[in-house]
Homo-oligomer: 340 residues x 2
């Protein structure tokens, strides 16, 4: 069966293509009886309108692009699901691609995206400088940044309170009696990496605690780095009594290391991780985490994008920043045990 065109329909219904177009797009101003004829013809021919041709003349694709570092990271899966859910409700389709944290990949994706003329893009960028996004800005393609900001450009942004979340987490550790608190940092050229570290520093300073250099581990938000760093911490002459990990994947890596080193979780070493992780409630003791509204992050992102899409004089808008609140999920992994 070949795809029927609007012309086929017009012919079959004995009307002009313009009239058919009117009923397809529910624009009204068509006599009831005519409409019925057309609807009938559409049904018989199994006609579906060709979005490509439509996009061609309307200059809109009803498609948005979503770029994330890695769709397999449950955090991003949820964000994407949030975006998609809102998008589909507004009749937008979503193209998801992963940059694998590579600025170069991201640049290539941008190229594709521009070619395809998407109406907007939601991005968690692999490089916050935003250079690789320049073509998008030049073209005035609506953009919203999620979870990571984009510097050097005015962009609608939705993030969570990274510093606040980390601060609260570390404060909790301190309240539990810890002084020797180590941190597994994320990349310091990313907002989440940098700000969470900031929160750590803020809490430590506020309570007059030393920040020892060997207690700062530089990770890359991936599992392996968490593993390696935790291992190193455990081998220190004076190991920390608590570890704060800056994201989900590194937490998992770190916990693997802790198990492997036979470092007694909750006794010899306390642990607190940014981001919810599935395993949090399965370990003994259960893991305390900073959890954040992932799906909501995506939903809000689409909303911001949609607002831009609907807006008239896009040039004159101020960019907006929405900060969602993380939540400390106190479980059991942070009690300071007095070692005699």
């Amino acid at each position: 069966m070949k795809k029927a065109t609007i012309e086929d329909v017009a012919r079959k219904a004995n009307v002009s293509v313009a009239t058919v177009s009117r009923v397809i797009n529910a624009q009204g101003g068509v006599r009831k009886s005519t409409e019925e004829k057309i609807v009938q013809a559409i049904k018989e021919l199994n006609y579906v309108r060709n979005a490509v041709a439509r996009s061609m003349v309307r200059k809109e694709t009803k498609t948005i692009a979503v770029i994330v570092p890695d769709i397999c990271n449950p955090f991003f899966s949820e964000v994407v699901a949030g975006v998609e859910r809102k998008a589909i409700a507004k009749d937008y389709f979503t193209m998801v691609s992963s940059s694998n944290e590579s600025k170069i990949n991201e640049r290539k994706l941008i190229q594709h995206i521009i070619e395809r003329g998407v109406d907007g893009v939601v991005v968690t960028t692999a490089d916050e400088s935003g250079e690789q996004l320049k073509p998008l800005f030049d073209l005035r393609v609506p953009i919203v940044a999620v979870d990571r900001v984009i510097k050097n450009y005015q962009v609608d942004t939705v993030i969570i309170g990274n510093r606040e979340g980390a601060y609260e987490a570390v404060r909790h550790l301190i309240h539990e009696g810890h002084k020797d608190i180590a941190i597994i940092r994320g990349p310091q050229n990313t907002t989440p990496g940098y700000e969470r570290y900031n929160g750590y520093v803020q809490a430590m300073k506020e309570f007059g605690l030393d920040i020892r250099e060997e207690f700062i581990g530089d990770g890359d938000f991936r599992e392996d780095s968490g593993y390696e760093i935790a291992k190193k911490f455990s081998q220190l002459d004076t190991p920390p009594t608590a570890i704060f990990s800056s994201n989900n994947l590194m937490s998992i890596g770190a916990l693997k290391a802790i198990q492997e080193m036979n470092w007694k979780l909750g006794e010899e070493i306390s642990f607190l991780g940014f981001d919810d992780i599935e395993i949090a409630t399965f370990t003994r003791p259960q893991i305390t985490t900073v959890s954040r509204p992932m799906r909501q992050l995506g939903e809000v992102a689409f909303q911001l994008l949609y607002d831009q899409l609907m807006e008239e004089n896009i040039e004159e808008r101020k960019s907006r920043e929405i900060i969602l609140t993380p939540h400390l999920n106190v479980r059991e992994s942070c009690k300071r045990k007095i070692v005699l």
Copy 2:
């Protein structure tokens, strides 16, 4: 900056659009010096070709659709990542959508997909009857089914050996000394649900073991159902000594229930789950699982699709079925403890 068109480039380079088109598409037959002029113009104007217009005339979008039940299920994330990775390498873009296991949603998505004229689709269908996919078949859109088959139509398919995997799993349980083995089944109108149950039955029969009705729990592949069923098992007068769960999410639910009921994992109750789960190595004892090559599933799926895309007389092809092998990942959760 407005998007430059091929005409702008032609004007700037003092040639015709046809010539520009030739160099854009690297078709050759253009004098070196002319080409250089054009390349120069393209650069100066920041020209990117308009894929919409191109699709219009070429009747191909270089886009494929991927439909999965739920992108947040790590299994599907991995599959999608596999598809995407192979696709991008061949210059295809990927549109991912979740059906949420709803046939109705899936039908709507199909509608969108047809409108947009994707070149092919990879689908893990929410309903194996395949009715909702009919429009796709009518239009001869290349399709490949992943993880779940499509009945009533000839479709390229890539699945894993569900029955074999389940059989091996249950046999392992039996070898470990279990006789009272319960199963958390998936939906029996899905291949994975049905075949895994089949494998269970096969193993039980082969070893002359009773299949007791109260040991069969009907889940829906979601976490909650696993939770509820495991709970029920634990409250039986004679509870099972081992549980075999049919997928990742139900395993997680079941394990939550087991913890909650204070049912001693590895002592009072053994556990084996289909699918890898992150928590497998974090519990004590660690969970034995049937793992399957998720990413490869996606990669092979794209390959099958790509073959169709490249094929000439698509009508005459026989459909292919590729069966990947699952792997029993023996850990610690299956030993039969002798209860005195």
